[in-house]
Symmetry: C2
Subunit: 330 residues, 2 copies
């Protein structure tokens, strides 16, 4: 039954109008209440909010990256580095891979020292394995991963630039530490850095790997890593080494191109000597480099061929830090 305004007496009209108006008001109040309930809760901070910066716009999965940092026996370095890395632009989240088996994570202390710019997740491991950091973590939401060793500090400027480079080369490992393999007449490969002879393709040196301990790469490669031949895992577990060489093999095989793109760091520091733990890192073991040559040859067997390719592209940031860093004598 519709209202036929014209046909009702004024008094009846008045009461119906009143009823209608009340209903509308009640509905509006309910809606407002619902909206209020849906609003996010404002956290109670211990300090007054007076000087607090406005929240940055939320980072989309395409424009931000996840830092994955594995740690063993260097919690003091870890915490120092977390203070630095938590504030890097475009960082989405930090995943700490906790290889200190049986030891409590510093999560409580971490929370007591909040708030923090981004969420930090401590992933407790059951066995101390080098390849723990190469799991396909469910907490990983971004396309990009930044993997850092727990003793390496790279400046925010370098990271921001390298991230922008990765966005232009998303299928490559974009990082700060280049290495190479060389062929020898016997067919046996050797692993090393620039102290090794150049591979001999024209002028200058070449690199065929970019180490993942200071690099950006696509999170899809963590997924791919779960599907490798069992022998790869055995090799990494045996040596507690070479997970990064294996990743370079994986990427090179996948792309058919050089696995890495080297970005020359302006400010990269190794903080090893700063630790109180006395623990100085795997690469100090006597057999470390020999193991890595061994790994290259084993991986060639496993993958039935040498997929690594050479590159001599070295990328730096135009006009930074020196605004005339590209100037020439012309």
């Amino acid at each position: 039954r519709y209202f036929h305004f014209c046909k009702l007496p004024a008094r009846v009209m008045g009461i119906r109008l009143l009823r209608f108006t009340s209903v509308v008001i009640i509905v509006l109040l309910l809606v407002a209440g619902a909206l209020t309930a849906l609003l996010p809760n404002i956290k109670d901070d211990k300090m007054p909010n007076l000087r607090r910066e406005p929240k940055p716009p939320s980072q989309s999965a395409l424009d931000s990256f996840t830092l994955i940092m594995q740690t063993y026996n260097r919690t003091d370095l870890l915490l120092k580095l977390l203070n630095h890395y938590q504030a890097i632009p475009h960082l989405h989240k930090v995943i700490v891979v906790w290889n200190n088996i049986g030891e409590k994570t510093p999560e409580e202390m971490w929370n007591s020292l909040g708030p923090h710019p981004v969420p930090v997740v401590f992933k407790v491991q059951t066995v101390n394995r080098m390849r723990n950091r190469l799991q396909n973590f469910p907490e990983l939401e971004t396309k990009a991963v930044l993997m850092m060793d727990d003793d390496t500090l790279v400046s925010a400027h370098d990271l921001a630039f390298a991230f922008s480079v990765w966005q232009q080369f998303p299928e490559h490992i974009v990082g700060f530490v280049p290495r190479k393999h060389i062929s020898t007449p016997s067919g046996v490969y050797s692993y090393g850095s620039f102290e090794l002879q150049n591979p001999g393709f024209g002028n200058g040196d070449q690199y065929s790997m970019v180490l993942i301990g200071a690099a950006f790469f696509h999170s899809g490669y963590l997924e791919d890593f779960q599907r490798q031949p069992e022998a790869v895992y055995t090799l990494i577990d045996e040596t507690q080494n070479c997970d990064d060489i294996a990743m370079n093999f994986l990427v090179a095989k996948h792309t058919g191109k050089p696995s890495g793109v080297f970005v020359k760091p302006v400010d990269i520091r190794n903080l090893e000597k700063d630790t109180n733990s006395g623990y100085s890192g795997m690469w100090h073991r006597a057999e470390h480099l020999l193991q890595r040559s061994y790994c290259v040859n084993k991986l060639v067997n496993i993958y039935d061929g040498m997929p690594l390719k050479y590159s001599n592209i070295m990328i730096s940031q135009f006009g930074f830090p020196n605004y005339a860093n590209h100037k020439n004598k012309m």
Copy 2:
């Protein structure tokens, strides 16, 4: 009718065999004669061939490039540069765009000083136009063009490396001279180099053009250039300038990406002051830079928008000239 050896008497067999053998010998001689006729003629050199290097394998159109060098009033520099550039690795041919209207080319002298590593073609022009070098020359057989100003010397090392970089970025202008445009609050653009303010996208500077007077680019862009709005040609002809800015607009519009990739040169020299002609090049004109800002704004009108994009990628050669040029303090 086949030979049925078994069935013929010995004497008949003898004559037939003799006839058959003679035919075979004559055929072989004819074939040998034909092959000899098809062999390339060995040129008669004035000097004995004793110390002559074997001919290099012919360069395929994909693995070599064509040098296009336009010249006006600096034939002494041209000839000096040709002696250098004719020997660059992977060079297929040189096309000299002869803007000295009415003047004989040095072709006779060039030939008398042969042999030369590659063919050099002198393209006589009828009008002295800046954009003469942007014709789609029929002599052009390679995918890659190296365009050089007639007063610019770039080392063979730099060129070999930049060519390899172009092969990895074939849709870009890969070269040694970066420039940029900047936006101003009025909406009017300005053209310049690093002395201009940074465009303000994060740290450091950016470039949005790579000048074609010392760069590699795809020969397809010369074809594209023939199909531009008439107003572009008018602009270049009016100013006798800006052909390179127009090419950057063309490439940026085509790719939707930054038009150029900057390769930092190790050894690039301007030989202007070395010329006997007294002619010192267009860029010394008082209005040169103002014209280029003018061109940027005109081209934005013509193309109905600003297609140029910024980049801060600076590429250098890993381990060359210094084999440890990427070393860091780690």
